[in-house]
């Protein structure tokens, strides 16, 4: 049963309980109409109380390990200004113009007169499985990008955990959602994703360890084994009596340990799932992976020549220094055109697999929280016939290599995102879903273009949801106040944003309590049901 149906069932039950269905025919005169309206008011009030808080929104978190060259993707230096050079920092490049690399921005116009100046990759086309290609910037209509977030300290593991559990002493997004969600496996963590998890009522997170039939892994405990004799029919006959007894045992247990409610709730969900048939899960997974793999492949293939301002012209190897051609394992030496880095079999680690599982689990209502992963780029051609992995933690990935490879990576990610959002729209879930992506830190670019180190004082988080009336770029959008030179991307402490603001923004959208209640959300709900930007001090750089 999907979530809408469940919500509807709650409402219907509430109305039945309150006898509301029988109220209207009894009254027809003005006095009775007054009474009727009073009763209806009481009923509505009670119904709201019965339904409790609205269900949380679905939340899908993509942990983008390393935070590779976000300035070539969702981060924009001064997104509200037409131009801003890279201040001589050879690592901060977003495109190639007449053979020279630079921080290039293009103008993008959105509804309500909003104009943004963004890296040229947003002007390229991506296509979901339906084949109807759109400009990548379409995704931003439902986005808020939060820049300049200070992580307070360096570190892969601790900062990656903060992506999903922003307050180390608080609750995780997945935990809050799992507690409030009626979904059977409310929170799941996919391989390599962040599983920092804590729930107020102790609800757990289901993990899969690898991509060998992960849907079967997740749902295998619910595949009931054959029973002997007529045991199952006798058990079915006893179902109501046992349910009633368990409810009383639950009341007894929770009288001394209120937290027992979560246990009984999980047991009840398990019983329901054990009675359900799932079909061929392995076949479903294979089909979805194939779909996302094809979408990814198309996006990567088109990246080789199809991104105006980046790969539409030859990128001559000889134009760059050895540092700018670093790939982690040495220089890209013997390919004349750096576009050939994009090999015919290049893929992004785990991308198709993660999207496949997320789509299945969310669209089928099994989960409301999926922690997923976007990894390194596999099979980049660094020399003729030599394929290597380009690590997202780009300490030794030169500017030119980084831009070409990441153009393909982020286009592949966005193409898969477009497919997922299309599927959510088809199911009517887009307004009730949120996608968050971020990394453990931004990058701190080296002036000579030889790579970048951990930029933990200026991280970037992006949120996508049908409920956001975007696009918005907030936070420290110009890196250093009063300067146009992004020489300190990721490492400036000037005007940096406390990550609690990000946490409150995510929580507001996800309809859960913020784990950082002292910090306000960047977004506020309008009467129309969409979220718009708060007029708060930290929304710096926002065009008035």
């Amino acid at each position: 049963m999907n979530r809408k149906a469940k919500q509807e069932m709650h409402r219907r039950q509430a109305l039945q309980i309150l006898g509301a269905a029988t109220v209207a025919p009894l009254f027809r005169n003005p006095i009775s109409m007054v009474i009727e309206s009073l009763v209806k008011g009481l009923i509505n009030e009670a119904r709201a109380e019965v339904a409790g808080k609205p269900l949380p929104r679905n939340l899908i978190v993509f942990y983008m390990t390393g935070g590779a060259a976000r300035w070539a993707f969702d981060q924009s230096h001064d997104p509200y200004k037409a131009s801003s050079g890279n201040g001589g920092n050879k690592q901060v490049i977003t495109g190639f113009r007449n053979g020279n690399a630079d921080l290039i921005k293009n103008q993008f116009n959105f509804s309500q007169g909003r104009t943004l100046y963004l890296p040229p990759v947003w002007g390229s086309s991506i296509a979901p499985s339906s084949g109807k290609s759109v400009q990548m910037s379409e995704l931003l209509r439902n986005a808020i990008v939060m820049q300049g977030v200070n992580m307070l300290a360096d570190g892969h593991r601790t900062n990656a955990a903060a992506l999903v559990m922003p307050n180390p002493n608080g609750m995780s997004y997945g935990g809050m959602i799992a507690d409030a969600s009626p979904a059977e496996l409310a929170a799941i963590a996919l391989p390599n994703s962040q599983v920092a998890h804590r729930a107020p009522s102790g609800s757990g997170i289901a993990q899969v360890n690898n991509f060998a039939n992960p849907l079967s892994q997740l749902l295998s405990p619910f595949q009931r084994k054959p029973a002997s004799g007529d045991y199952l029919s006798r058990r079915d006959a006893m179902d109501l009596a046992m349910k009633s007894a368990l409810q009383k045992l639950g009341t007894f247990a929770s009288s001394t340990d209120p937290a027992a409610i979560a246990l009984f709730s999980a047991q009840s969900k398990a019983e329901k799932l054990l009675k359900r048939s799932f079909g061929d899960l392995n076949a479903s997974y294979a089909t979805l992976v194939k779909k996302y793999m094809a979408i990814q492949r198309t996006a990567i293939d088109q990246s080789r020549t199809g991104v105006v301002g980046v790969t539409d012209q030859m990128i001559a190897n000889g134009s760059f220094s050895a540092q700018e051609r670093l790939n982690g394992a040495g220089n890209v030496a013997d390919i004349a055109d750096l576009r050939d880095l994009i090999s015919p079999i290049m893929i992004v680690q785990d991308l198709a697999e993660n999207f496949a599982i997320a789509e299945y689990m969310i669209l089928n209502g099994f989960s409301q929280y999926v922690s997923a992963f976007v990894g390194n780029v596999f099979y980049a051609q660094i020399a003729s016939g030599r394929l290597e992995t380009i690590n997202s933690d780009e300490h030794d990935v030169g500017a030119a290599v980084s831009l070409v490879v990441n153009t393909a990576r982020y286009r592949a990610f966005c193409a898969c995102l477009l497919e997922l959002t299309d599927m959510l729209k088809q199911k009517g879930l887009w307004n009730d879903s949120v996608i968050l992506w971020g990394s453990e830190f931004n990058r701190d670019p080296r002036m000579d273009g030889s790579g970048s180190d951990h930029g933990w004082r200026g991280n970037v988080y992006t949120l996508l949801s049908g409920a956001i009336d975007g696009p918005y770029y907030v936070g420290n959008t110009s890196t250093i106040a009063g300067s146009s030179a992004p020489t300190k991307i990721g490492s400036s402490e000037v005007d940096s944003v406390v990550r609690g603001y990000v946490a409150s923004t995510v929580s507001t959208l996800a309809r859960i309590q913020s784990p950082a209640s002292n910090n306000s959300s960047f977004l506020t709900l309008t009467q129309g049901g969409t979220y718009v930007l708060n007029n708060i001090e930290l929304s710096k750089g926002v065009a008035s």
């Binding site: 469940k6 509430a14 309150l18 405990p221 006959a237 368990l246 246990l263």
Partner: protein, 219 residues
């Protein structure tokens, strides 16, 4: 009926909750108050409470103690070999004895303290179901409840209130079951099962219900 509804609506203006007990909806209303377990919605929250439940060794030991050696293979398959769901130690320095640890290489990173998931409960439910089908396991458990050596009495003697309370304490020592809940189990579960199968079925479904009740995992 119409008059009752009218009275109830009028009464609602003065005391709305009184109408909740109207007609055949009493059960639903009590469910709404206590948390709608079977709708999967937890309305009552225990703020900032972290539940500690037993790991796979703990859960397995309870089941093996209650149901005896006949339950061992089921417990091993559904509980001990599922560290991903039930937690507990998986020491990868003990690779040579992985069969003893019941861990696979992929399990090395699993949490020591398990968290509550539907998957964990489904595996436990399946274990309970399979154990409950075994007459020898039920005889063993019944004998434990009466503190006798032979459980063959289940063929002719149905469980009484004292048996039910003793059975509950096998799972959850130190938590005496109130009389009204024991009585409810006797009337509903034991009585219902005996209608179709005699006293053995009464014992079987008593122990199944107690096994399914997840509270005994609480630490």
């Amino acid at each position: 009926m119409r008059g009752i509804r009218l009275a109830c609506i009028v009464a609602a203006l003065a005391s709305f909750p009184g109408c909740l007990n109207f007609g055949a909806k009493t059960e639903e209303s009590s469910r709404l108050v206590m948390g709608m377990y079977d709708q999967g919605t937890i309305l009552q929250k225990t703020q900032q409470t972290i539940i500690r439940i037993g790991d796979r060794e703990q859960v397995a030991s309870v089941l093996m103690n209650v149901f005896g050696p006949n339950a061992n293979s089921v417990v091993s398959e559904n509980i001990l070999k599922k560290p991903a769901q039930f937690g507990g130690p998986c020491d990868y320095m003990s690779e040579a004895s992985q069969s003893d640890m019941n861990c696979q290489f992929d399990d090395i990173g699993v949490a020591t303290v398990p968290s509550i998931t539907s998957a964990l409960e489904a595996l436990r439910t399946q274990a309970c179901d399979r154990i409950a089908q075994d007459d020898a396991a039920i005889r063993y458990a019944a004998a434990q409840a009466r503190e006798v050596s032979d459980g063959s009495f289940i063929q002719s003697e149905p469980p009484g209130i004292a048996d039910i309370k003793a059975a509950y304490e096998l799972f959850r020592p130190g938590h005496p079951l109130p009389d009204d809940i024991a009585s409810n189990l006797k009337t509903g579960v034991v009585g219902g099962a005996m209608k179709s199968g005699g006293s053995v079925e009464g014992w079987r479904f008593l122990f199944l219900t107690l096994c399914l009740s997840p509270d005994w995992q609480l630490l």
